[in-house]
């Protein structure tokens, strides 16, 4: 039986890496004594798939993970699972998923980027008017010049106390755009300015039509 869980990761655990987050789930499942399904092969591991890895240093309100169990879980077991998650992680909701994974439909991710430096609307507008924004993108294969403009759907300023909150809808799935790279690009457009980053939170994962993936 496959379930998709929506979970949150608060600031205290935002430095827990993608791989370590996988371990967090494995261990919580074992503590909750849930009937996990395992892969075949020499080193069987529980079948846990995340929709999109979350970068280190980013918190989230809407991460998605699909987990396969040997049989359907009862409400009691779901509750146990949820209370077995360590502090900082929260299982927000779950649904059964009989069909194939909806994660393939993932196109966009929404980030709220909190910055101590004021940014003008004009700066953002000018930034978005560019047809091409070339940035060095690092990957396993090395560095590559990439035009990141098509990977930015929208940038919007949200007033919030005495900080600047930038709401960014960025490309997710394959390939994806990291919010850090967006900030770098913005800094380059600010003539020597540096953005004092306070926090980044991922708030939604969307499909091509702008609807939540799950």
């Amino acid at each position: 039986m496959k379930y998709i869980y929506t979970f949150s990761k608060n600031q205290r655990v935002q430095y827990v890496s993608h791989l370590d987050t996988l371990r967090v789930f494995e261990r919580a499942m074992r503590r909750a004594k849930l009937p996990a399904s395992y892969s075949q092969g020499f080193h069987p591991h529980p079948l846990i798939t995340f929709a999109q890895p979350l970068g280190v240093g980013i918190s989230s309100k809407s991460e998605l993970v699909e987990i396969v169990f040997e049989r359907p879980l009862c409400a009691e077991e779901q509750k146990r699972f949820s209370s077995s998650m360590p502090g900082g992680f929260g299982l927000l909701k779950y649904c059964e998923n009989e069909k194939k994974s909806p994660f393939a439909a993932l196109e966009w991710a929404v980030y709220e980027i909190c910055i101590a430096t004021p940014i003008s609307k004009k700066l953002l507008d000018d930034f978005m008017k560019q047809e091409e924004i070339l940035m060095l993108k690092r990957s396993k294969k090395g560095e590559k010049q990439v035009n990141i403009r098509p990977m930015i759907q929208s940038l919007e300023l949200v007033p919030w106390e005495n900080a600047t909150v930038l709401k960014a809808v960025l490309k997710a799935g394959q390939p994806s755009l990291k919010p850090e790279l967006l900030l770098q690009a913005l800094e380059q457009n600010m003539a020597g300015g540096e953005l004092a980053l306070q926090s980044i939170c991922r708030t939604a994962l969307l499909d091509g039509k702008g609807h939540p993936v799950v």
């Binding site: 600031q11 205290r12 655990v13 430095y15 827990v16 890496s17 791989l19 370590d20 371990r23 967090v24 494995e26 261990r27 919580a28 499942m29 074992r30 503590r31 004594k33 395992y38 020499f42 080193h43 069987p44 280190v56 240093g57 077995s84 360590p86 502090g87 900082g88 980053l197 306070q198 926090s199």
Partner: protein, 613 residues
């Protein structure tokens, strides 16, 4: 609580500093009498892997009046950020600065962590020297194996704990609570614990120096402290507290699994081994108790791996029952067992088959010396025959990689012994080719891993000279040239660190000055190749006016006053001397279960000894 978030964004592996892990203990600071910063002078991944710390952390947190929190050495990037932002060293749980705590307790696992201790005190904004600490400041204390030769740290530590912390701490904390309520001066607390067995307070002892300024003895400077400080042990290990939960880190640590301590001490008595002496006598836990803990700990942590922890685990008398119990449970729960290096025989190979179903990667043997003569000298009761039998069994079982551990620089060592290492490795390779092709793997690799011998306090070799770096290099070269087979890989550790380790392992109070100078010069993380700078240390010795060679290169006479002679670790000097003489006579000493050699630990209630009576 200190604001550390802005720093965390700038450093690598910030999960080292965030705390909040599963099963970590949170309390209300205002509700406890005693706040205890348990400090491990190394990075989080190393410190969190240490079983002793886990046990004490949970044991002492059971007390309502005490809150124990964890502190690790910040990695270089974090230290830089902390210094820049003026953030003092803080505890992981509360994020409070530890300068406001009651106790700062360091665990001393290896000498090369001493510079980190000073660095951590400085980061915590606590005066380095005990004498400079004022009323209201924390008491700085230290325990662990290196505390058995406490003198190199004597000026910095208010009191040392000798022996097993589970036994000493409850008493110290009781006294502390009363002292704190009485509002008596700082000195009064130290006076009150001076009588507790296992406590050594360096300030209550004076060192005598001879005309040349060399160590000549150490005596109490007051009448109410013991001349000889006796270590403290747990008599019944089976009934002693063991936590039923463990902190589960968010990031991967070195030993990321449930560790089960099966026994303490060691029956073997290898003459170079300090652990084998200072943890005597041997005390076992019952296999049923251990299985019970294993199940509880898996349920509380969600770990998928269990390993056994002890010295020479093959000597555990209930190993077959324990493994049977653990295997039946682990298969059901999909938990894997990882085996420590066991002596290789039919039983252990069979076990490894069962446990490591697929990976037949490496097996390790530790003959330690290249010839039978030298193995007799060091009392390593392993013969060439044993080794070849083990290797043959392993190759027949399909193993292809064997790792052999050796030491160079051992007492009485000659060229023949060095060449014997190459010879032994070659014989293991040859053994592979005598095994039927249908049984053996396609290839064979024998790794020879060589470290340098460091004489340690409380071993039969505590009087020995340590080879100089130059001599060790010559020996390494000799060995390297004697290895010809492409099936043999040769690894050795640099001897610079061993030299420094040797100084501190048998050092006296003068080294406090050296440590201080080294700290000023920026020495830290000396156990890490990327940080260790030998030249900087030599500069520190020069500045302090101390000759390191005096500690290492000199053979001591049996009559010489030793800086650790006022500590009683159970094993007595007469036994060590007897063992040293037997080493020269190339005579092996049977293990504790065959014959009790009267090491002195019987005074602490040795079970093996009692059985013989």
């Amino acid at each position: 609580m200190i604001e550390i978030e802005p720093l965390l964004h700038k450093v690598q592996k910030a999960a080292r500093y965030t705390g909040g892990e599963l099963n970590s203990v949170m309390k209300e600071a205002a509700q406890v009498t005693t706040r205890f910063a348990f400090c491990f002078p190394d990075v989080y991944e190393i410190g969190m892997s240490h079983l002793g710390m886990k046990i004490l952390y949970h044991l002492l947190n059971e007390r309502e009046d005490t809150w124990v929190e964890r502190v690790f050495a910040p990695w270089e990037d974090m230290e830089t950020e902390m210094r820049q932002a003026d953030v003092p060293l803080f505890a992981l749980e509360s994020r409070d600065p530890i300068s406001a705590f009651d106790f700062i307790g360091f665990t001393l696992q290896y000498e090369m962590s001493y510079s980190n201790i000073l660095n951590m005190l400085e980061l915590a904004d606590i005066p380095l020297r005990s004498a400079e600490r004022k009323e209201g400041m924390p008491f700085v204390c230290a325990g662990g194996p290196c505390a058995f030769n406490p003198e190199p740290l004597a000026d910095f530590i208010d009191f040392f704990l000798l022996g097993e912390g589970e036994e000493i701490w409850p008493e110290v904390l009781d006294i502390f609570a009363q002292w704190k309520a009485s509002k008596a001066p700082r000195q009064a607390f130290l006076e009150q614990i001076a009588g507790v067995q296992g406590i050594y307070i360096p300030a209550f002892y004076d060192v005598q120096w001879d005309e040349q300024g060399n160590f000549a003895g150490l005596t109490p400077n007051r009448s109410d402290v013991p001349d000889l400080v006796q270590k403290r042990i747990i008599r019944d290990l089976d009934r002693v507290y063991f936590p039923d939960k463990l902190v589960v880190p968010y990031m991967e640590i070195v030993h990321d699994r449930v560790m089960l301590e099966v026994f303490r001490g060691c029956i073997r008595g290898c003459r170079f081994c300090q652990a084998g002496m200072i943890y005597r006598p041997v005390r076992e836990k019952d296999s049923a108790t251990l299985c019970n803990y294993a199940e509880k700990l898996i349920a509380a942590t969600g770990y998928d791996e269990i390993s056994l922890a002890s010295l020479s685990t093959s000597d555990y008398t209930q190993l077959p029952t324990l493994m049977e119990g653990l295997l039946s449970f682990s298969e059901k729960e999909r938990v894997s067992l990882s085996l420590p290096s066991l002596r290789i025989d039919n039983f252990s190979l069979d076990l490894m088959e069962k446990v490591q179903k697929v990976r037949k990667s490496g097996l390790t043997f530790a003959p330690e010396a290249g010839t039978q003569r030298l193995r007799d000298v060091i009392n390593k009761g392993i013969t060439e025959e044993d080794l070849m039998r083990g290797a043959r069994l392993a190759f027949e079982g399909g193993w292809s990689h064997i790792k052999l551990y050796f030491m160079i620089g051992l007492p009485t060592e000659t060229e023949e012994d060095i060449l014997g290492i190459a010879d032994l490795a070659q014989k293991v390779v040859d053994t592979f080719y005598t095994v039927d092709k249908s049984k053996r793997a396609k290839f064979v690799n024998v790794t020879v891993s060589v470290s340098s011998f460091v004489p340690k306090a409380f071993t039969p070799f505590q009087w020995e000279a340590q080879d100089t770096i130059k001599r060790l290099k010559e020996k390494q070269k000799l060995l390297k040239e004697a290895i010809h087979s492409r099936h043999i890989t040769y690894n050795y550790h640099e001897s610079y660190v061993s030299h420094l380790e040797g100084v501190f392992a048998r050092g006296d109070r003068k080294l406090c000055r050296v440590l201080e100078e080294a700290h000023k010069l920026g020495c830290k993380y000396d156990g890490w190749d990327e940080f260790f700078v030998y030249g900087r240390w030599m500069e520190a010795f020069e500045k302090a006016g101390v000759d390191p060679m005096w500690y290492t290169a000199r053979k001591r006479s049996f009559e010489e006053a030793l800086p650790w002679a006022h500590i009683d670790c159970g094993v007595v000097a007469a036994f060590l001397r007897r063992e040293c003489e037997r080493a020269y006579a190339e005579k092996v000493t049977p293990n504790c279960r065959e014959v009790c050699s009267g090491c002195g630990a019987q005074r602490l209630d040795c079970i093996e000894w009692r059985k013989k009576q």
